[in-house]
């Protein structure tokens, strides 16, 4: 029961430190005063020590594991205390503040999580374009959404050095991020530079907060979503597909090359082989024909007259025995007297008509 009363008292103290003179104390004095004549002997004797005891007990306070106790004596900082139960001289001499120090605070810039619990996968995001649109060094605009995590590293500075702590961190974070983005070009912001931007922003934010002696330690600056503004996102996507197109064109051309060149090599080799074949054919044919001629010549030289005659007659026989050849025999006289007429149109039409040639000798 005492304990509850302590808490209540402590709370009251914390809420309104410069309260008017302590009622308990007045009560004490009053009771003591009344006690002297002994009009209410039993009651007063009991009430005074109880009240004094309660007052002394109100100095007990408990610091939670994630908190730090900051004790002020007459408003001035006096000491820090760690987690666990502690005692301070009761009001109005000392008072205690217990800021949460080990917990990591988090805030979002450029978007807000709405609906769903934090960290759950169903949460939805609402963009805040006035926070997220930033100018890059090459005068482009990017949409940057990020989160900042921070912790109180020095509760004394945090409580006593800066006012509006939350606004301070938030404003500084926005300023730092914009400064870093302003030093980068849009392409590096959108692609490879992200990690570097996070690190630079964290460093810059920490240096700003240190300059304010804020007692705040930046745990992390994390880019959540970095993309081109909605108005130009299609054009950016088209660049990506254009890059793919380029690769595709080159691949197509390579395919064409890979198809054509081996085929051509085959074709060239075929041409060469044909030529080689021609050469061999010619050589061998000439060798054959020469051999045949030389063989015939050998025999011819043995009996020139007969062989010559035989060859001639055999040739003529072969020619004239062909039924397809139309033969006309006229005397030498007639031949010299007739006017030669060449009936060209009938020549080819009736090849078989006419006199049968006389074959062989008579």
């Amino acid at each position: 029961m005492n304990w509850d009363w302590d808490k209540l008292n402590e709370k009251r103290q914390r809420n309104a430190p410069p309260t008017p003179p302590d009622l308990n104390k007045i009560g004490d004095e009053f009771k003591k005063f009344k006690d002297i004549p002994g009009r209410f002997p039993g009651g007063a004797k009991l009430i005074v020590p109880v009240l004094i005891l309660l007052w002394l007990l109100s100095g007990i306070y408990i610091v939670q594991p994630d908190e730090m106790g900051v004790v002020k004596r007459f408003g001035a900082f006096n000491r820090l205390t760690g987690p666990g139960p502690h005692y301070h001289i009761p009001f109005p001499v000392e008072s205690v503040l217990t800021p949460t120090v080990s917990q990591v605070q988090r805030f979002e810039v450029g978007f807000r999580t709405i609906g769903g619990r934090e960290g759950s996968s169903v949460s939805q995001f609402r963009p805040v374009p006035e926070e997220s649109l930033m100018l890059t060094g090459d005068e482009n605009i990017v949409d940057v959404q990020f989160i900042v995590q921070y912790q109180i590293k020095n509760p004394q500075d945090y409580l006593f050095r800066i006012a509006q702590q939350d606004e301070t961190v938030k404003n500084a974070a926005e300023a730092a991020m914009r400064e870093v983005i302003g030093n980068n070009k849009i392409d590096s912001v959108l692609t490879t530079g992200k990690l570097e931007i996070q690190n630079q922003t964290k460093k810059l934010l920490q240096s700003i907060l240190d300059k304010y002696e804020s007692g705040i330690s930046v745990v992390a600056v994390q880019l959540q979503d970095v993309h081109p503004p909605r108005e130009v996102v299609d054009a950016f996507k088209d660049v990506a597909s254009a890059r793919e197109d380029k690769i595709r064109y080159i691949n197509e051309a390579d395919a064409y090359l890979n198809d054509l060149i081996p085929k051509t090599r085959g074709q060239a080799e075929a041409m060469l082989n044909q030529a080689r074949a021609y050469k061999e054919q010619k050589v061998r044919q000439s060798q054959g024909e020469s051999a045949r001629f030389l063989a015939l010549l050998t025999e011819y030289e043995k009996a020139p007259e007969v062989t010559r005659k035989r060859l001639y007659l055999e040739a003529m026989e072969e020619i004239l025995s062909n039924k397809g050849v139309e033969k006309t025999i006229i005397s030498q006289d007639a031949a010299s007297k007739t006017t030669p007429l060449l009936p060209l149109s009938t020549f080819s039409q009736t090849p078989t008509a006419g006199v049968q040639p006389q074959k062989g000798g008579q």
Partner: protein, 284 residues
């Protein structure tokens, strides 16, 4: 009766003592500083955190925040050196360093903020007017902030205020300029996309035409080599023929003529012969 009277007197004395004590003792919080006024006239310097004493009734205490305070300015349009309009949203962190000066010149935080507004805005506009938009956004940003902090500080010294930091939070463009930038960004990306595509086509044409060229060269080379081979064949054959036929030129002519006759007079030929030819030698 007398007992009651005396106890009432005692009670009065105690109450008076309490009032006297609360009037002569005051505490200053760790976040504050205080100045003591004696009938309106400051007495002593500023008091730091802790327990202090003063004369009751004739002295009163003015408390002031000793922390670094926030001043978030309204976004304002500013003209840059290259005649571009930009919306600058800045904030400042400031502190009351000389409570007495502060009290005599400004008295309240809200009046101080109005003064900060005037001075910082003016300094910011002057500083930003010396640089181009690109410089403000990137390279000169830190320098500008430092310059403004320094200048504002000089102007605010008489008020007992020190500016810790003037920081440009947002540098945006007015909506109409923003649209112009979007248009330019789009055009830039289109240019980039076109470049990629035409580079692709360029590569494609290069590769394809070089393949075609290689094909033509390969075929021509093959043609050249095959003509040489054919020529060699023809030459060797000619040599072989010549060697053989040279043995008897006349006989060669004879046999070759006969072969030629055989080949020439085939079907659909018409021959007019006279008996005087050698073939009819024995017909007479």
């Amino acid at each position: 009766m007398s007992i009651f009277k005396s106890s009432s007197v005692l009670l009065l004395i105690v109450l008076a003592a309490i009032v006297l004590i609360t009037q002569s003792v005051f505490t200053v919080d760790q976040t504050q500083r205080a100045i003591v006024l004696q009938l309106g006239k400051p007495v002593g310097g500023a008091r730091g955190p802790g327990l202090h004493f003063k004369l009751p009734f004739v002295q009163n205490v003015i408390y002031m925040d000793s922390r670094i305070l926030d001043y978030d300015a309204k976004a304002a349009e500013i003209l840059t050196k290259d005649k571009k309009t930009m919306v600058v949203d800045n904030y400042a962190r400031w502190q009351i360093t000389k409570p007495l000066d502060f009290y005599t010149t400004l008295r309240t935080v809200s009046r101080a903020q109005a003064r900060l507004e005037d001075i910082i805005y003016a300094e910011l506009r002057v500083a930003l007017g010396q640089f181009t938009l690109a410089q403000i956004v990137s390279s000169k940003r830190a320098e500008i902030m430092e310059l403004v902090t320094e200048k504002s500080n000089a102007a605010l010294t008489p008020f007992g205020i020190e500016i810790v930091d003037v920081r440009i939070k947002r540098t945006d463009l007015p909506p109409e300029n923003q649209n112009a930038i979007f248009g330019r960004m789009r055009a830039e990306r289109e240019r980039q996309a076109k470049l990629y595509r035409s580079e692709g086509r360029e590569e494609m044409a290069k590769i394809k035409s070089s393949a075609d060229k290689e094909r033509a060269v390969l075929l021509a080379e093959a043609g050249r080599k095959s003509e040489i081979l054919r020529g060699e064949g023809d030459a060797q054959a000619a040599a072989i023929y010549a060697e053989a036929y040279n043995k008897d030129k006349e006989f060669y002519a004879f046999t070759k003529s006969l072969d030629a006759y055989k080949k020439s007079f085939r079907d659909n030929a018409k021959m007019v012969l006279t008996p005087s030819s050698e073939f009819f030698e024995y017909m007479h």
